[in-house]
């Protein structure tokens, strides 16, 4: 009898605590999100502005034909550009057709998907300024390195 009562009590406690746990978890998520939401909306507004102000045709005009300078320009433009990665592939394909080097275009695509100047304020506010600056700085250099390695390996394996 006593055991049964204890078990009943335990069962009731579990029934009571599960919804409470779910409510607490939802509350915690909602609080976190309420803090982040203005930042996310701000980033989307910034990205929309960049998409409207910088047409894809602009990207082709900035390459010089210089083998050393172009990958850096590509990485820089890719870092500042915003939008879906599909756009970077389409623009990259067009740039190669227009005579840009594969090295420059690879740096451009790599930076487009790994560095985010438009997202930097949000990343800084949510993950910390120091972290965001270091991560994006290293990703910029990596974009150039990935471009060099991809181009060199392609030349070596499939000349």
């Amino acid at each position: 009898m006593r055991d049964e009562r204890q078990r009943d009590g335990k069962g009731r406690m579990e029934k009571d605590t599960k919804p409470q746990k779910i409510t607490a978890s939802l509350k915690k998520t909602a609080t976190s999100f309420a803090q982040v939401f203005p930042i996310l909306i701000g980033v989307m507004l910034l990205v929309s502005l960049i998409l409207v102000l910088v047409p894809p045709s602009f990207y082709g005009a900035v390459f010089t034909g210089d083998e050393i300078l172009d990958p850096l320009i590509g990485a820089f433009i890719g870092s500042v550009a915003a939008g879906n990665p599909i756009t970077s592939y389409i623009v990259g394909g067009e740039l190669i057709d227009q005579g840009a080097s594969l090295l420059a275009v690879t740096a451009f695509i790599a930076a487009w998907v790994t560095v985010g100047v438009a997202q930097l304020p949000a990343e800084g506010m949510i993950l910390g300024k120091r972290f965001a600056l270091i991560r994006n700085g290293i990703s910029f250099l990596s974009a150039v390195l990935v471009a060099i390695l991809t181009s060199v390996t392609l030349e070596l394996i499939w000349p």
Partner: protein, 170 residues
Amino acid sequence: LTVQAPFGKHFLALLTAVYLGLAAVEFDLFLRAISVFAKLLSNVLPVLALVLVIMSLLNLMIKPGMAKRMLGKGSGLKGWAFAVVGGVLSSGPIYVWYPLIADLREKGMRDSLVAAFLYARAVKMPMIPLMVYYFGWNFALLFSLYLLIFSILNGLLVEWLTGRGDEPEP
């Protein structure tokens, strides 16, 4: 989640002011930007909902210390695998994932894994056929491979430079 509180609202206020300025000067451009924003928001909302669900589930199921064990200093290869595979599989814009990452970081995720996750997102599996179409399969293969390798190198370098293992940034 410890967002640098007032800055979020200031950031949004600044962008709103820029948009209002744009509406006053170039109303057509303002309308185009607003229409792009509306489209972007409608694309982002499903991913945002997914992130919210994952965050709620993690808050519900991950006990204190569990995230640290799985994604903290001692997580080893399993931690790296979680970060890199998670990054490759995560879809949508990068900023949608910041709240979840910040939450996990607060629970003990180390900086190297955060950076690896964010970098590995560059490998977009659904878009590989498009990359093959534009640049060839050999380029797509090498580029994706180098991105994966660099996600780990980036992670290690970021953690070394931030000097932070699994303690929150002050």
